[in-house]
Amino acid sequence: MSSIDAGLFTPLQRDGKAIKDAEPLAVPGLLNRLAANAQARLSFAVLVALFAFAVLGPVLWPQSAAEQWLSDVSVGPSRSYQALLVDPYAEVDLPAAQQLTAVNANTEFVDLVWPPVDGAARYAIYRKLANSDTVAGLPLATVTELSYRDRLQLRRKAYVYRLVALDAGGSALQELSLRVSPVAALSVFEAQMHGLVKTGVSAASLQGQQVTIPAHPLGTDAFGRDMLARLIHGARTSLFVGLVAPLLFTAFGTLYGALAGISGGRVDQYMMRFADFVVALPFLLFMILLRVSLGIGPGDSGINTIILAMLLLSWPGPARLVRGQVLQLRGHAYVQAATIAGAGRGYLIIRHLFPNILPLLLVSLSFAIPSAIFTEAFLSFIGMGVAPPTPSWGSLCNEGIRHMMSHPHELIFPALLISIAVLAFNLFGDALRDVTDVRTRQRLI
């Protein structure tokens, strides 16, 4: 065969310039159409806000997600306040009392002193919140002395103490009660631990100083940890898993599907049969199983394990999608024309395959992300996700649901964030599908 003159292959000229092929990747057009879509704009703004929350959060809200404020356990949204430094272990001389009196009433301890009652063998002490309806209150102790130090989880609230003088037989002789509003206080030791005051100084020299306890805008959890800080770090976990896992399995699935589709024949058949098998595995059961099989070492957060498990189980979705698209494309006349014209495999993939599957992949990805966030939340919720103390929105819900009745804020905030994130991703995916006009029946759940 005689060789063809290379000059025949110079590009055609128009207005003195070589005519280029049409831009195959219509990304700018896609972006313009997305920008014109109100739903896409709104959900995108929410997503940007969520990512800013996760990325910039620790800078704007530098509180630690692990630091425990034991004097503020399970409090709702609170402001910062001044606390008095006290030393709960210092010896105190208590004065003799004419009546039931509270000395040193602060939230670290309340010293009660009272005058002796004739014939009394011992004294029973009860405490209740001043605004509670109960009559008896919490029994604190039964003592024989004339003083008692209450150190039991005092809050910055008004309490009513009740002192019942009992004779040797145990019947009540006299009842005294006292309303006490303890002042906010923090033990010197705790203040040193939080870095509020210098360490290595004697407790006595620090006593009586005022320190500022930081605000907890979203309250604290059952261990006294700042909810806002935990939500920010939880957002990092949840969004990281939600984003990275779908990216990885979509990438792997795309390669697998493209390879199967291009190879065709027997290889394609075997490859897709294997994908069918993986699809048939009960997803969440296997997520749990793999989480245990792949194991997490001591001190490991378990994030990588979850991502790996999702990768192992979720790749067939995109693989089928891409393979179907490849087969469809192979039948198209323009692809056959390109093949006849001598286009190589690489050219076909980059020029024809990729632009055609890109919108499809984007839409599939935009629905895979909320579903991955859900999966992570589900696993963490049943205690099979990230290992404590690493926070994720799901594990925060898991902790919150235990105190749902008494401290609903511990459940509501993480649940709200999951819902907002999933909603925003779903709406964005919807808008993307409308804009790209990709007809897929994606499962949202």
Binding site: F277, A280, P282, F283, V292, L423, R441, R443
Partner: protein
Amino acid sequence: MISWIIRRLFAGLVTVWFIATATFFAMHLVPGNPLDNEKAVAPEIRANLEKRYGLDKPLLAQYGIFLGNMARGDFGISFAQENREVNDILREHFPVSAVLGITALLFASIGGILGGALTAHFRGRVADRLVMVAVIAAISVPGFVVAALAQLAIVNMNSWHGSQLLPVAGWGSPSHIWVPALVLGLGTLAYLTRLMRSSMLEVMSADHIVTARAKGLSAMQVFRRHELRNALLPVVTELGPTVAAITTGGFVVELVFAIPGMGRYFVQAVQQLDYTVIMGTTVFYGAFLVLVVVVVDIIYGFIDPRIRLYGADQ
């Protein structure tokens, strides 16, 4: 048609084998073995125990024994609860999950199909908009949050009424079923509503509907005979994944509502590394889901003649 069904069932069987194999080897990847949970025992006793459970044999021999027993429907004895057969556990706990799941499925599919068909007919009106907003919200709120909120609502309702209108948790009477089933079905209901609505809208603009109207059929007849039947097709294909979603969603609902179903049991078994229970449950559920998919395929073949006639190569 018959040979097609047989082919389908055979493919399902192979899939179940794959699930069993994957479960077996995933399970044996876990460091340690179930006997590690026990208190320290003398080496002789341990050796005896390992012999009893077949743990002393090489992995492939164990795999062979496992497959052989599985083929006879015997999943062995639980490690954590001695002398309790996995089959007994399945027999006791699976019906609970099944009752819950079926109630949820009925609720979700009937509600979803009707909801989707109606919203499509009232497209663009206020009611349609409201339903679609509710649907998007229901899809976006995680199941455990819905479960917790439902529980909170029951508690408040009971205390407001002064007597127990509905039980907060537990199992045993019909009144225990409704709320968990509603919660379990909610996500699927929302999803099916959406699916049915878009499918219905597509059908409503088709030429044969115009023809049906033109030849004078009443709106009800058009709806029943032409619109509903055609719009149902994509919903039926989704029934398989739907059953899967409801079965696994049952885990959370069972956990929150303290229902003694399979889900709660499985999580516990994984934590205790109870080999036999984990494998039994996974294979059983896998087989169940495969069966559902095959049945849905067969139903689909009956509804859509194209599949019967041109084969099921999708």
